[in-house]
Symmetry: C2
Subunit: 338 residues, 2 copies
């Protein structure tokens, strides 16, 4: 490990994974409550309780700027935690909200962030039942750390993909990261780039209602490090290959344009309102239709399949017949993205 922490150590991707594996996981020694624990590096943990599972997750939110096209820090904080519960297969029961505020923050900004948290929580719906407030001298604006508790009958990990399964995505890819980056760089397009930040519990629930929790083999929300990182983690954890077809991965034209202008792949940047889902091939069409019937899943697509070859790797096939590896990024190329 390096002597000092760099920005990339918090940016998702391979550099962060090294920090987590070499420092955090090796230093902590009590890491599981009998279910999925810290060592799994999944989106959350599970705590068996009778015949059900309490799912528990936490995320710090330090996005800059605090208000961006399509969302803000408050909407991101609630969505991020709800989505971590959802991709573990858990119905969100309650959220906790810890705010760390830089001295001098305008009270009005705090109110706007809280209002946004409230309206996002009502969409789910999930109550914000407990919280904490700290004020520090450093001019940090505001950080929001949200934790969530949910209940799952059949928890879903990100490690359960099986050879032959289909890979689905609930909508377009790269919107959040590209919207943030374009906004920061002052680039504008005819169609405004907007973050996709939203809670996706309703999308996940629609699929579970249609095909059953036991038929969702793996889920992940492709946040920091984007789709590339999510698929690589899923391939590596299940020790399978994943093959995706480039032409089937939905990317908005304006996101593609920004991506080309900035030289950043839309697959490598964060999404904040999407789910990658792996299901048996025979349930794939039903799952896809269930997603598409929901408000947030209209542009869902089947993008690939789980294969036996290239275990631990992700392959992309292109229209002209080529194939290349989709490497996990070292870190999300858009800093302070969530």
């Amino acid at each position: 490990m390096e002597d000092r922490i760099r920005l990339e150590h918090g940016a998702g991707g391979e550099v962060m994974e090294e920090l987590l594996r070499e420092v955090v996981l090796k230093t902590l020694t009590l890491k599981s409550a009998g279910g999925i624990g810290l060592d799994a590096l999944d989106d959350g943990a599970t705590i068996p309780l009778g015949d059900r599972h309490v799912v528990f997750t936490i995320d710090g939110h330090t996005v800059r700027p605090m208000f961006f096209p399509g969302g803000d820090l408050g909407r991101l904080a609630v969505s991020g935690t709800v989505n971590d519960l959802a991709v573990m297969g858990a119905e969100p029961l309650a959220l906790a909200n810890s705010m760390i505020i830089g001295e001098g923050l305008e009270t009005d900004i705090l109110v706007r962030i809280l209002k946004s948290m409230d309206s996002t929580a009502r969409e789910v719906p999930v109550p914000i039942v407990t919280g904490d407030t700290k004020v520090v001298e450093e001019k940090i604006g505001m950080f929001v750390v949200t934790a969530g508790v949910g209940l799952a009958e059949h928890p879903v990990s990100d490690a359960g993909s099986k050879v032959g399964d289909a890979v689905l995505i609930s909508g377009t890819v790269g919107d959040h990261g590209m919207a943030l980056m374009s906004h920061r760089e002052g680039i504008s397009f005819e169609t405004e780039l907007k973050s996709d930040v939203a809670p996706i519990w309703s999308v996940v629930k629609a699929v579970a209602d249609e095909i059953g929790w036991e038929n969702i083999h793996a889920m992940k929300d492709p946040t920091r490090g984007g789709l590339s990182n999510a698929l690589n983690e899923m391939a590596s954890k299940a020790n399978v290959g994943i093959l995706v077809r480039e032409e089937d991965i939905p990317v908005r034209p304006e996101v593609k344009a920004a991506s080309e202008m900035l030289g950043i792949s839309p697959y490598d940047v964060a999404n904040e309102g999407k789910v990658v889902m792996v299901v048996p091939k025979e349930h794939a069409e039903d799952a896809l239709e269930a997603m598409r019937r929901t408000e947030r899943g209209k542009e869902a697509a089947m993008i690939g399949e789980v294969i036996e070859e290239y275990r631990g790797k992700v392959l992309v096939s292109t229209l002209i017949g080529g194939r290349r590896f989709l490497e996990p990024p070292a870190g999300d190329p858009v800093p302070r993205v969530c």
Copy 2:
């Protein structure tokens, strides 16, 4: 409300309470999962689940310096969250750890903080099952936000004090705040001042095993704003008076000396390893003995009683026969205390 957030808005006490009541509680609208919710401003929330209750709590930790006599940021983060669960009557099941790290932090410091979290968690014992890491450009050192999930058969609020009950404290008062302040000011005494930071689940459990959860009417951990703030909140929430006897409140001689030198009351500063407990008078001796049999409760004391007069207020009687109100501080006089 003021236009901008000041340090005191995060310092416990009356200024913070105004921010919470006027801004946070008025802006958020979904605040309970059917149990104790955000409006109670208690140490945590409860979520009814069958015949038990999941208890859920979160706390941000921004203490400066990160290492201080008797403890550090890691020990504080684990103890703070375990203690919030304990005073709600919940056995700690699992913790979540969200770290926000300033770019450039030495990896060695991160490891020391994590080691301290680990050894404190093992004392309880409670696993750290999930987490998150963010890195920011601001030179903040490191903030640690911990959330906790516990299980209670009979949750205990801070609002259940009844007239005639006895008020107990599990040990000496003012150690954490005074140790921090003296350390920062470079004041030294013959006996080193040390923070009391420690998990107190074992103390709470010993009392519950002895007298039963149903006989613990109210509990609170006197952190920010100290004993003064905790007792005033308890009196106000239960709409009762609380009378404490100055000569019975345990204060270490070196804490008293520091307190006189700095002009800060030991009752107004944070404790991080204590519990204020209110029990029926007939169980008070048993509760006290149970506390004293534990490692962290040896200096427990019965310090007062719940009275009918002066509802919502706290009175202190002195040896020479005088009585005065113990006012809640505007905020903890020691900044960045937890």
